[in-house]
């Protein structure tokens, strides 16, 4: 099967290439030479870019099939132009056994849409007490180890887990939040929480835990990816850590690049997120850090939540927002606001994410897997439940008009999503 994508604007963040041209695909890979195609896709007016790599998307399987299924969320992924995704281990049961990981990978493979990279649990049942069999889990396909949003309160266990992971060279992905300081909190501890009477999570709940983590990185040499930064101070700390040469990287949830505590309005439970939306100053620092590369990647942190769990008083509502289908337009919005070239904008969800995930995709280069997205950067659309394929319709952006709509998504040379409905 040979495919020709003709006349699109090819944007490859890794090489900085941005020009109109043709892309040839042969046997699932980008081909270096012009070949006679079995099928031609007219990409005139569209951007042809590497498929998005999302470092955090919850597929809700196993365990939460009433919220979403692997099928619905894989549909959502490719509709959002996401061709590879890492799924955190907070399923039910958590991804702490090779059997579960193996099953998830096989189920995903049968669906033949986006590539799924499971992130294994760092501790058994994510309980923060006993280490998982990381080597076994890695063999089953886990690319990193994480606690997702579950706390790891015992610093002794954290230290040992990092040492153990470092032994095998496994990366550890952690969100930093001091459990005691965050206990009971549901919103940024600041003016808005004070006004709304919501229990707060102070910004230093994140940075104190980050300080501990960075000390342990110094001690153990573990490769650490810090997930979902939410504060300006944390961005500064990562900047200094990178300058120091520590093996750290980090990401930010795309919602936190755009929204702040002010968006809670009158208790909009769609803005109930983990970590909480923080001050406008924090948001601006995150957006700036993402631009200057201190923050390596943006992620959707896709979390489908059923309507019943959102139609609750703010503090009781389940945290999280759907995001796979909003990652691209929200990233474009960020890039446009900061007047970044498209290649640089897209790097944060393609080549940079590939580097952290340790995969070859995320670039348009001969011999590499043909994972591509074709999108119209100008097309406006209004976010509405019926526009989303994800089973989760929970997003603070409902009703917003966003620019950038995916037309086709290609994984390993196969068209897995076609907005015109033929895939």
């Amino acid at each position: 099967m040979k495919l020709l994508i003709k006349g699109g604007r090819i944007v490859d963040p890794a090489s900085g290439r941005d020009e109109v041209g043709d892309v040839f695909i042969s046997d699932g890979k980008i081909s270096g030479k012009k070949e006679k195609a079995d099928q031609t896709i007219d990409a005139k007016g569209l951007v042809v870019a590497p498929g998005l790599i999302d470092l955090s998307a919850r597929l809700r399987e196993p365990g939460y099939e009433y919220k979403a299924t692997l099928e619905s969320e894989m549909d959502a992924a490719v509709a959002g132009g996401v061709t590879s995704l890492a799924c955190p281990p907070d399923t039910d049961p958590p991804l702490d056994e090779p059997g579960l990981v193996d099953m998830l990978r096989r189920r995903a493979k049968v669906l033949a849409r986006a590539r799924v990279y499971p992130v294994g649990a760092l501790t058994v049942k994510l309980a923060g007490e006993r280490l998982t069999e990381m080597a076994e889990l890695a063999e089953a396909g886990c690319v990193a180890f994480s606690q997702a949003n579950a706390p790891l309160a015992d610093t002794q266990v954290l230290w040992r887990a990092m040492q153990y992971a470092a032994t095998f060279g496994f990366p550890v992905w952690l969100r930093t939040e001091d459990r005691s300081l965050a206990h009971g909190g549901v919103a940024h501890d600041g003016e808005v929480a004070t006004r709304l009477g919501l229990p707060g999570i102070p910004a230093f709940a994140e940075t104190i835990a980050l300080g501990t983590l960075l000390q342990l990185v110094r001690a153990t040499g573990t490769r650490v990816h810090v997930c979902r930064l939410s504060t300006a101070v944390a961005v500064e700390m990562i900047r200094a850590a990178k300058k120091e040469g520590l093996p750290v990287s980090c990401d930010v949830g795309i919602h936190h690049v755009h929204l702040s505590e002010m968006d809670l309005g009158y208790y909009d439970s769609h803005c109930r997120l983990e970590p909480p939306l923080r001050s406008q100053r924090d948001r601006d620092a995150l957006a700036a850090g993402l631009a200057d590369g201190t923050v390596d990647c943006a992620v959707s942190d896709h979390t489908p939540v059923d309507e019943d769990q959102k139609q609750m008083p703010f503090a009781e509502a389940e945290p999280g927002a759907t995001g796979l289908e909003l990652l691209l337009p929200l990233l474009l919005k960020w890039g446009a606001a900061r007047k970044l070239p498209l290649a640089k904008t897209l790097a944060r969800v393609t080549s940079d994410a590939a580097r952290i995930l340790g995969v070859q995709s995320g670039r348009i280069e001969a011999g590499l897997p043909a994972d591509l997205v074709l999108f119209d950067p100008q097309q406006n659309w209004r976010v509405a439940p019926e526009m989303l394929r994800s089973q989760g319709k929970n997003t603070p952006f409902l009703g917003y008009e966003l620019a950038g709509r995916v037309r086709k998504t290609i994984v390993a040379g196969n068209v897995v999503y076609d907005a015109s409905g033929s895939a």
């Binding site: 006004r195 968006d263 309005g265 139609q311 008083p313 703010f314």
Partner: protein, 320 residues
């Protein structure tokens, strides 16, 4: 990201009070309207027949997700004096334990032809959620939600202050104690600033003041004596039992020593200062008995005014 500021869910399209959810965001005119309307209702409560036929045939549902006999009773009396039918539902022990969702409970009651829901809930913002889902002719009155708001308490405090002090625009008001957990304090602060009180003070240890409390428009004092100086009104807040010994405070005794209202501390306020407390009081913890029962105390009149204020609120929302 800039968002169009959401429509104030308390007001209808004509800017009238559809629900009473919070004092914050209410225009001065509506606050004054409520206080003015409460005035003749206070007259009704002094009569032999303490009842007017205004809300005959209307149904008021007291929907208490958090037990509070006291507040529920004041709403019940107010509704009965308006001739409304009152249905008390202690949801804390019925549907919630059966796993019924908040909105299902409300939908069920709505099917029983409610006109007014009086809602008490342990979670901040719960009345907003209910108000978003009731029918257009139904009204929600917040009777206390989490730490957020207790607007009828705030209004009765404002009524009391106006009754004794007449003019808001030259007052110094001090609110003392556990502001962090207090919905009463938040509601009163918004009311006082909206009505033009030039100086609102909060007095308490750092552990009991919320982050960025200054942003509500108050001056912060940690020392009670300097905070009480020349005050016209002193509002003492209730300190919940479970907060007396722990990470917030070492002991009730030490709290009383530094933040309890005693006659000698009160002497620092103006000679004609009034002392208020939303009740129920912890004598010897936040207030000394000699002050609670003393000549400056208006704590019992507050309770009486509370009925009239709640009658005013119910009759105003139910008519819009």
């Amino acid at each position: 990201m800039p968002r169009s500021s959401p429509h104030n869910p308390q007001l209808n399209a004509n800017g009238e009070l559809q629900h009473l959810l919070s004092i914050e965001g209410l225009p001065r005119e509506i606050l004054v309207q409520i206080l003015d309307t409460a005035e003749p209702f206070a007259g009704v409560t002094e009569r032999e027949v303490k009842k007017v036929p205004l809300m005959r045939g209307k149904s008021v549902f007291n929907l208490f997700f958090e037990a509070s006999t006291r507040t529920r009773t004041t709403f019940e009396i107010a509704a009965k004096r308006l001739s409304a039918d009152v249905i008390n539902l202690n949801v804390a022990v019925s549907s919630q334990t059966k796993g019924e969702s908040l909105l299902d409970t409300v939908a069920n009651l709505s099917a029983m032809q409610a006109d007014v829901f009086v809602v008490r809930h342990g979670s901040s913002g719960a009345p907003y959620l209910i108000a978003r889902h009731v029918k257009p002719h139904e009204h929600v009155i917040n009777a206390g939600d989490g730490r957020h708001a207790h607007p009828t308490q705030g209004l009765l405090d404002l009524y009391t202050i106006r009754h004794y002090k007449k003019d808001f625009t030259r007052l110094t008001v001090a609110i003392v104690g556990d502001v962090l957990h207090s919905r009463v304090a938040r509601s009163l602060i918004h009311g006082l600033t909206t009505l033009g009180v030039p100086e609102v003070r909060v007095i308490g240890p750092q552990t009991l003041l919320p982050a960025g409390v200054e942003s509500l428009g108050v001056r912060v004092f940690h020392d009670m004596r300097s905070g009480l100086k020349d005050c016209d009104v002193v509002v003492m807040l209730r300190l919940q039992n479970e907060r007396m010994n722990g990470a917030l405070l070492p002991s009730a005794q030490e709290f009383f020593k530094h933040y309890g209202l005693t006659a000698d501390k009160l002497a620092l306020a103006k000679p004609d200062a009034i002392v208020m407390h939303p009740g129920p009081m912890n004598r010897g913890v936040e207030i000394d008995s000699s002050v609670a029962d003393g000549p400056h105390s208006v704590i019992l009149p507050q309770v009486t005014f509370g009925i009239a204020v709640r009658m005013a609120v119910m009759s105003i929302v139910a008519s819009n």
